[in-house]
């Protein structure tokens, strides 16, 4: 056998064998990975829309997903909106829940972030940041309250708090939420949220 054909045969067979290994590994781990992802999302949905026992996707596009959360008895508990965007140092993905009529933000949770530890990473801190997002008016864009307020009562319904020393991270979270709120309002107007149709019928 000459060298050239040996080269082709060896490399091709190495590729084929690797391919089959990869295929079997993919097959073996596929379910588990999908399950992991699903569990993670479900946990986040339950956090932001309390009372949810059953959820399903009503709208999905790149970096923006709307889930519908239903209670045990089939009543609509609210919507969970998954959104992502760029933070100060890397991608921030978050999820927030609304009430069933989509007028108020109920809770916000940060799923993934790479902000500065100790400063920007405080966006995951309930005491310092997340609790200031409860019950915010969704009808218009939210704004930051500067300087930082010391209790949620100081804020207007369309204001959220700034983290001292991490203004940019706070701004980035606000930006992601505001952007998704706008999309949400547009979707509502266009009647693309299936739940709306259900309500109408």
């Amino acid at each position: 056998m000459n060298l050239s054909s040996r080269m082709v045969i060896v490399l091709t067979s190495v590729g084929l064998i690797s391919g089959s290994f990869l295929a079997s590994v993919g097959l073996l781990t596929k379910e588990r990975i999908a399950l992991n992802r699903q569990q993670e999302t479900e946990a986040a949905i339950v956090t932001v829309v309390p009372g949810t026992t059953n959820s399903q996707i009503v709208y999905e596009e790149e970096g923006f997903t709307v889930y519908e959360g239903k209670e045990d008895n089939g009543n609509l508990a609210g919507f969970a909106i998954y959104a992502s965007g760029t933070g100060f140092q890397g991608k921030i993905t978050l999820m927030y829940g609304t009430d069933s009529s989509m007028t108020k933000i109920k809770f916000l949770t940060i799923i993934e972030q790479r902000e500065t530890p100790g400063l920007g990473s405080k966006i995951t801190d309930v005491e310092a940041f997340l609790r200031y997002w409860e019950n915010k008016d969704m009808s218009s864009s939210l704004t930051l309250h500067k300087p930082a307020a010391s209790s949620p009562e100081e804020l207007a319904p369309t204001e959220v708090n700034t983290i001292t020393g991490a203004t940019i991270s706070s701004e980035k979270v606000l930006e992601i939420v505001n952007l998704s709120l706008e999309r949400l309002r547009n979707l509502k107007k266009e009647g693309k949220l299936s739940s709306e149709e259900q309500d109408a019928s």
Binding site: L11, G15, G19, L22, A23
Partner: protein
């Protein structure tokens, strides 16, 4: 289907790329004598440059071309020379093991300092301003040679002179180049008698600055005129082979010890 896609993708990609590689192998092949690789693998891979080429690979190319001798690698010694010669089917030639010798006996006690040197502590820097010793030919004791040795064959002795460990020295010659005063020389390991001085000062001056300097008195020349001459106030061994062993005791009568046998403290 899910199983087949990765297999087909990987297989097809490898298949395609292997054609690229075959093409590269056929069309872009650099014609190279396989012997170069073979010889190169025999060499020590120290890339020290002692052979006079830029590295072991360059030496291998030169040997295969016929430009360099099979025994051109001083580091590898006889063993490598024989292997290389065998691979190429040529004669190895006799390899004389050489080692480096420090030809100065200007120890701390013997050679006087000129003052307190506060510059950069390398021989080279000290030499630029005339050196820290009164003798302008002797060892400066800052160990440039020790630092440059890739084989750790030199260390700075207690007396302030570098000491050679014969068994580690490969005669690569880096230290020879490093010494700003050219005090290190490569000599066959069997050679016993050396002039341990480079001073061209006239006798009285030389003596004043260093107790162990050659003062050009001529005792050694009279003992062995066939091999030793005086040149510029310094004794010089013209041809080591002509020294009659019987005259060695007479040569060693040197009043300053500047010429004579290698002493224990000169070695490791």
């Amino acid at each position: 289907m899910e199983v087949l896609i990765p297999i087909i993708t990987m297989g097809a990609l490898s298949f395609l790329f292997s054609f690229g590689l075959v093409f590269a192998y056929k069309k872009l092949k650099v014609e190279e004598d396989p012997k170069i690789e073979e010889v190169s693998e025999m060499l020590p891979q120290a890339n020290c440059g002692a052979c006079g080429y830029s590295g072991c690979r360059a030496f291998a190319e030169a040997v295969v071309r016929g430009d360099a001798a099979a025994n051109g690698c001083p580091v590898g010694g006889e063993e490598v020379a024989n292997k290389v010669a065998e691979a190429l089917g040529i004669k190895a030639g006799e390899v004389i093991k050489k080692v480096v010798r420090v030809l100065c006996r200007g120890t701390q006690d013997a050679a006087k300092n000129r003052g307190v040197y506060l510059g950069i502590s390398t021989c080279y820097a000290s030499h630029l301003i005339g050196g820290n010793k009164q003798c302008s030919y002797g060892c400066l004791s800052y160990g440039d040679c020790v630092r440059v040795c890739p084989f750790d064959a030199l260390y700075m002795g207690e007396a302030g002179l570098p000491v050679v460990m014969e068994e580690k020295c490969t005669a690569c010659g880096k230290c020879v180049d490093a010494c700003p005063r050219n005090l290190l020389e490569l000599h066959p390991i069997s050679q016993e008698i050396f002039v341990f001085c480079h001073s061209l000062d006239r006798g009285p001056t030389a003596r004043k600055v260093c107790k162990n300097a050659c003062i050009a008195c001529g005792i050694c020349v009279r003992a062995c005129p066939e091999a030793i001459v005086l040149e510029n106030n310094l004794a010089k061994i013209l041809d080591y082979k002509k020294i009659d062993p019987e005259t060695i005791p007479d040569i060693e009568k040197c009043p300053t010890g500047a010429i004579g046998r290698l002493r224990k403290d000169d070695e490791g």
